[in-house]
């Protein structure tokens, strides 16, 4: 993982009714632009969903690593959404 300062860590590997996106929505939204969240995920569909969520919200995935049984993503909060690069954008990189 890079030396980027992480403002928020969301552990999506612990089974709860609310998944990582719900947690990101409630906790990441209040942080200033440029803040970075580390998201730890235990499964492939959640990784794809979080990447899709970041795209929809205009945030930037600056790192996406597979470490053992988990995926670790670093997401930088942006000020406004970016357009998708094509159909199905956000599902790549799995």
């Amino acid at each position: 993982m890079t030396s980027t300062t992480v403002a928020l860590t969301v552990d999506g590997t612990t089974l709860t009714c609310k998944g990582a996106i719900a947690k990101l929505e409630t906790e990441f939204t209040g942080l200033p632009s440029g803040s970075v969240a580390r998201v730890v995920l235990g499964d492939v569909p959640s990784r794809i969903d979080v990447r899709a969520w970041a795209l929809r919200k205009g945030h930037r995935v600056i790192e996406d690593a597979h470490r053992g049984d988990v995926f670790e993503l670093l997401i930088a909060k942006q000020g406004r959404p970016e357009p998708p690069s094509g159909a199905g954008a956000g599902f790549g990189g799995r």
């Binding site: 009714c17 499964d43 492939v44 795209l55 919200k57 799995r94």
Partner: protein, 254 residues
């Protein structure tokens, strides 16, 4: 993704938990197939397991009476339910919203989560549009949403709502901070699609009952265990649920 198994009594709840269920959903099949069970049954099930095993209570299809439903919701909370599900069929949007808001108020002081539920096959009963569940959940400040089916004639969730539509609803609900659950005669054959949609909770009964019969059969721990493992294989990518599938384009805010 959590596995929710619908049970009718403590014996079935024990089977579900032994097989790896995360949530036991207490219901009563004799009341419209998705109805409420009796308070002593809920209490017995709740007392049998530690808190990390969630016990949900379904109120099934509720009447259009906000006070009656709020009292039932309060009852579920008083019994220690992790969540209580309030489902609508022949209810207009404003009435459903009022019922959910009163249910929310009834849960003040409790940890019990409020789940707004609609039925994918609602149109068969001239009922409320099931896709309104996310809007209902948001406006009532519900903790989560569930889309189920009412018909138990072999058709299932995907006979009424498509993958792309469900995916959008699930993402929208997650973005609103809600938990998301899908149910409705789901089987192992549906796991590929379910995992692509990726709700927080998947609910089953018939698929984990003896003889695959949700009514005459009983929840079987071995069947629960098999389904749990099949789900795990897909979640971890050991079975690739995205192989050969063109992912739907994502809606991006303009």
């Amino acid at each position: 993704m959590m596995l929710m198994v619908s049970v009718q009594n403590l014996d079935e709840a024990r089977e579900a938990v032994a097989g790896g269920a995360d949530i036991v959903d207490v219901k009563n099949l004799r009341e419209m197939m998705v109805g409420s069970n009796f308070p002593p049954v809920v209490r017995e099930v709740r007392n049998a397991f530690p808190k990390h095993i969630h016990v949900s209570v379904t109120l099934g299809v509720v009447p259009n009476q906000a006070g009656t439903v709020a009292m039932a919701v309060y009852g579920a909370a008083a019994l220690g339910a992790t969540s209580v599900k309030v489902g609508f069929i022949e209810t207009d949007y404003e009435t459903a919203l009022r019922i959910l808001r009163e249910s929310r108020r009834a849960l003040e002081g409790f940890d019990t989560k409020l789940i707004a539920a609609t039925f994918a096959d609602s149109h068969l009963y001239h009922g409320i549009d099931p896709t309104l569940v996310v809007k209902l959940g948001k406006e009532s400040k519900s903790d989560g949403m569930l889309i189920d089916t009412l018909v138990k004639d072999g058709r299932n969730l995907f006979d009424f709502l498509g993958e792309h539509q469900l995916k959008e609803l699930v993402l929208e609900a997650k973005e609103a901070g809600m938990s998301t659950a899908l149910s409705g005669t789901l089987k192992i054959a549906n796991l590929h699609t379910l995992v692509r949609i990726n709700p927080d909770i998947v609910g089953v009964r018939g698929a984990v009952c003896t003889r695959g019969d949700r009514e005459k059969g009983a929840v079987d721990s071995a069947a629960v265990s098999v389904l749990r493992e099949e789900l795990h294989q897909r979640l971890t990518g050991k079975v690739d649920v995205f192989a050969g599938v063109e992912p739907p384009a994502l809606r991006v805010p303009s």
